[in-house]
């Protein structure tokens, strides 16, 4: 039964119409996947309800979100049955991996699993563990996330690849926008900025560390304003902290800003700083660098990737206040704007790499195909048949 086009079932938290880094990543991913050679249709089943969805790209169909955990599983199973045949399953989040693994096993098709970050900072549950092992390929958003996954899971490291975030075209260099200079009264001042949710569950982002460093920064650069963009349940605590440190005058909380205003906020700033200890990747760093401002991030986590080990921005030990202060001062002292430094994270490279990964995935043996374990056991030198025979003759993607 040779069909010319493949159908992919994609289980994701959110994609089209969603907000935030993961939704963005999923959109980029699914769009590129839909354009891959021989992929005819990508069926997207999101878990969370999102905003309005504009016209979907050809080849992509997004089903209605199903929020409940059990109802989602049921919906996924129904989708798999009613939309048969499914040629492979893509799973966009580790939490959904056990469900995706079961589906791929029942359907007898390979599984492509994507992981993002904090979900692998601790040992995985037994079910997640098995799900990851059954994946034909795992893509991770950063080297650090990959490294952490491999700490816990017994899987051939060759099957775990890295596919970084990409950055949208609206983030680009430009002059400081007048209306924001006015709104925040920062004309003639140096602006430090952090953009993130202010959640008490995500204190690792490091707003505290920046606020505590501010007195030292202000000593030498009294004209500095620290702009905290984003909102959440941790905001009042940070406000009190700023008071406590005696820098309340120099810290402004913007609350959440509409997505379309975000590029302007980056352009308003001189330096983006987020000394986080637990980023999976940190797409905001790319947005800041694309806007041409200097960036400072933390070592020992996914931030090393957007900053390319320090080639594109400054990496500091987040727990070292002196290091952070001198990095901020050095960045503020440099008046030149850097221009867009994110050429290596542009969508075209992302798409090309996804194509190459897709070919690798297609040629992998085993994965979740039930015959895999017995095939492996017998294998010495003999080549193992391709996971899905219908793909054997496929050509490289465009």
């Amino acid at each position: 039964m040779a069909r010319s086009e493949l159908r992919v079932l994609a289980l994701v938290t959110e994609a089209f119409g969603g907000r935030g880094g993961i939704a963005q990543y999923n959109r980029d991913f699914l769009l590129a996947l839909a354009k891959c050679d021989r992929v005819g249709e990508v069926l997207v089943l999101p878990r969370f309800n999102s905003g309005s969805v504009d016209a979907l790209p050809p080849g992509v169909q997004q089903l209605r979100a199903v929020e409940g955990r059990h109802t989602y599983s049921l919906a996924a199973a129904c989708t798999a049955i009613t939309h048969r045949p499914i040629d492979f399953v893509f799973c966009g989040h580790l939490r959904m991996a056990p469900l995706a693994a079961v589906l791929s096993r029942v359907l007898n098709v390979p599984l492509w699993l994507q992981i993002h970050g904090v979900d692998v900072w601790h040992d995985l549950s037994a079910l997640q563990h098995r799900a990851v092992q059954s994946a034909t390929m795992v893509t991770s958003v950063s080297r650090d996330t990959r490294h952490r996954l491999l700490r816990w899971v017994e899987i051939d490291p060759a099957r775990v690849k890295v596919l970084p975030n990409t950055v949208e075209p609206q983030f680009q260099p430009g002059p400081k926008p007048g209306h924001l200079l006015e709104r925040h009264a920062v004309g003639g001042k140096k602006v430090l900025i952090t953009v993130s949710r202010l959640s008490s569950l995500e204190r690792y982002k490091g707003h505290d560390r920046v606020i505590r460093t501010l007195p030292r920064v202000l000593e030498q650069r009294p004209d500095t304003i620290y702009l905290i963009v984003g909102d959440g349940d941790d905001r009042s605590r940070l406000e009190s902290l700023a008071l406590e440190c005696g820098v309340a005058k120099n810290v402004q909380f913007t609350g959440s800003v509409p997505a379309e205003e975000l590029p302007d906020y980056f352009r308003l700033a001189d330096v983006f700083v987020m000394p986080s200890t637990a980023e999976g990747f940190g797409i905001v760093f790319l947005q800041a660098m694309a806007s041409g401002i200097r960036v400072i991030g933390g070592t020992q986590n996914g931030t090393r990737d957007p900053l390319c080990d320090g080639a594109l921005g400054t990496l500091v030990d987040p727990e070292n206040g002196d290091e952070l202060a001198s990095a901020i001062l050095a960045a503020l002292d440099d008046p030149t704007r850097t221009g867009d430094r994110t050429t290596r994270f542009k969508p075209n490279l992302f798409r090309e790499h996804l194509n190459a990964l897709y070919r690798f995935f297609s040629n992998q043996n085993g994965g979740s195909v039930p015959a895999r374990s017995s095939v492996r056991r017998e294998k010495i030198v003999t080549p193992v048949p391709s996971a899905f025979h219908s793909l054997e003759k496929h050509q490289p993607c465009q």
Partner: protein, 611 residues
């Protein structure tokens, strides 16, 4: 014979190759290659190779590496010796290939151009190389069938780095130092770190007899092109010479052929000599192969003078029979104490062995040798170890109780909780493991038992490491396909576990630290092919065949001498060394009968040995 290094920034987001890093990796291996250095970078700076050279074949500058093919399409950095390179060269020349040097390195480049990755099947020798194929934009890493030459790689998801030593990769400064629990657990269980693990999560061994491609997607699945188990299975199916005389004749021919090939060099080739059959017979065969001048070297200890353990007198007798230039090198406790920090520094991965090789290599280098022949591998090929008898016996006795579910764990639990701690920990594992070849072999070679690891390594490392390594299953994987004869099974286990992870690896670091190349004619793919069927039929009697092979026979003393293993006074030296006393903290290690290797292993794993 050299040190190799390389970096390939395969991912589109990765930084270009950092030349400083590559040089740090390369130059950490200065002792592996004191005679020359080289580097090469692709024009886009995405690939870089480094090389440290020990000149042995074609001593001229033309033999320098990394070597680029005449058409610029292929680049290689190579460590090892291809013993059949002259034959390969002749057939390539017949096909029209033109050579610029006399090296085996250039043969590899032409052979790859001719055959692609299938080239590895044609190679006889020891090798580890990285080959850049500019047409494919891909890197090929390959390692010899037995894993004589080491090759480690680290893939962080953007960039892959490789080198001949783990510590060299770390010296580059960009590879994670996060520990690999499976490596540490493996070390404590076996006394050496089992392939493909190292003690670092990010660094892996390219397994023996395997190759690996890296392209812009990253590292592909390792492909195994040679299997010892498979060779024994095929030999068992084939017919071997029927009568003893024919067997002896064909064995002699095969051995002589291997020795002859292992003498290929543009510098003198010496030999390590002990009082055993293996090294003595090899020296006799070196004579038969036509080598006139042979420098032999034996290590001896003042403490053993006049005692049965002293190998020096018998070795000297062998040397005089084969008219070699012979040196007995005395090692004293003082020298050992002085060298210990250097030994631990040179020890690339934790191990409980290698110190003997350190001193004999040191002695050979002092004599001006660059290459020495060693009898390593004889016990694996000819069934010299007691395991060839004991493991099958154990499996026969325990096959039934060992297969009863729960019984093994139950007896283990009973024995470890109810009986005093002075009980040999292996006794407790007898029922649990003794019923299968892999399990019984694990008992035989095991240093610690899994339930002892928590005390040594801590709960998390022990738990994660055991989960990943699965020691008995790990052993069982080398027995696929499973040879029919017990000899074939044990020979496969000994060659694929103990010899590979312990003997060969220790020989590599301990000899290379002295810039000495050790060659092992008894560890040879072709010899195994020819010999496996004879060995499978003759079982443990086959060592006789080796002893009878030199035209001038070995002295009868050598043949009749009971197998003792190589004993040294090193244990008592270590025991007296106040730098090495950490083990006294662990109750189970202070028992009188506790083997020294267990204490030493703990010492090494505690990382305090160097202090």
């Amino acid at each position: 014979m050299c040190g190799i290094a390389g970096i390939y920034a395969y991912h589109y987001a990765a930084n270009a190759v950092d030349r400083g890093e590559l040089r740090r990796i390369r130059d950490y291996m200065a002792a592996r290659g004191p005679d020359g250095i080289g580097e090469w970078y692709s024009s886009d700076e995405r690939v870089g190779f480094g090389h440290r050279r020990l000149t042995i074949i074609d001593l001229s500058e033309r033999g320098a590496q990394p070597m680029v093919s005449a058409d610029g399409k292929f680049v290689i950095t190579f460590n090892g010796e291809i013993y059949n390179y002259r034959q390969l060269r002749a057939s390539l020349e017949a096909k029209g290939c033109r050579f610029r040097t006399q090296t085996d390195t250039e043969v590899l480049l032409h052979l790859y151009a001719e055959k692609g990755e299938a080239m590895v099947d044609d190679l006889r020798g020891m090798f580890a190389f990285g080959l850049w194929d500019a047409e494919k934009s891909a890197l090929l890493l390959a390692r010899d069938p037995y894993g004589i030459k080491p090759l480690y790689y680290a893939d962080d998801g953007w960039t892959v780095r490789f080198a001949s030593q783990v510590k060299a990769l770390l010296a580059g400064g960009k590879v994670s130092r996060d520990p690999e629990p499976a490596g540490w657990v493996g070390f404590c269980l076996f006394g050496s770190v089992p392939e493909p693990f190292t003690t670092y999560q990010e660094i892996r061994v390219l397994p023996a007899g395997s190759m690996l491609w890296v392209d812009r997607v990253g590292v592909h699945e390792t492909k195994q092109y040679f299997s010892i188990a498979d060779t024994y299975c095929q030999a068992e199916a084939a017919r071997s010479p029927a009568n003893e005389q024919d067997q002896q004749h064909s064995a002699r021919e095969a051995l002589l052929d291997s020795v002859r090939h292992h003498l290929v060099a543009d510098v003198p080739v010496g030999a390590f000599l002990s009082s055993g059959i293996d090294s003595g017979a090899l020296v006799g065969l070196m004579r038969d192969a036509g080598q006139r001048e042979i420098q032999t070297v034996t290590v001896a200890f003042e403490e053993f003078r006049g005692r049965g353990e002293d190998e020096a007198p018998i070795a000297a007798e062998v040397a005089s029979r084969y008219e070699t230039r012979h040196t007995t090198r005395i090692v004293t406790e003082q020298e050992f104490r002085n060298d210990l920090p250097k030994i631990l520094e040179a020890m690339d991965q934790p191990t409980i062995d290698g110190i003997n090789t350190w001193f004999v290599s040191k002695a050979a280098r002092e004599l001006g040798l660059k290459v020495a022949i060693s009898g390593l591998g004889g016990d694996e090929l000819f069934g010299g170890y007691p395991s060839f008898r004991e493991v099958p016996r154990c499996v026969r006795a325990l096959a039934i109780p060992g297969n009863l579910p729960v019984l093994g764990d139950l007896t283990r639990w009973l024995l470890t909780t109810a009986l005093p701690s002075s009980l040999n920990p292996k006794a407790a594992g007898l029922v649990k493991y003794g019923g299968s070849y892999a399990g019984a072999y694990f008992l035989r070679r095991g240093l610690f038992m899994p339930w002892e690891l928590q005390t040594l390594l801590g709960g998390d490392t022990a738990r994660l490491g055991l989960r990943r390594l699965k020691p008995v299953q790990h052993i069982a994987t080398v027995l696929k396909p499973k040879p029919k004869t017990s000899f074939g099974r044990i020979a496969t286990l000994e060659s694929s576990i103990y010899m590979r992870n312990q003997l060969l690896r220790d020989t590599d670091w301990a000899s290379m630290a002295h810039s000495l190349e050790v060659r092992v004619p008894l560890v040879d793919k072709k010899l195994l092919n020819q010999f496996a069927s004879i060995a499978a039929k003759n079982g443990s009697q086959s060592k006789r065949v080796l002893a009878n092979s030199p035209r001038v026979p070995l002295p009868p003393k050598v043949i009749k001498r009971p197998k003792t293993g190589f004993t040294t006074p090193i244990q008592s030296w270590l025991e007296r060394d106040n730098r090495i006393q950490e083990w006294r903290r662990i109750p189970s290690l202070t028992a009188d009968k506790c083997p020294w290797a267990r204490r030493w292993a703990f010492q090494v794993s505690a990382g305090t040995a160097a202090a």
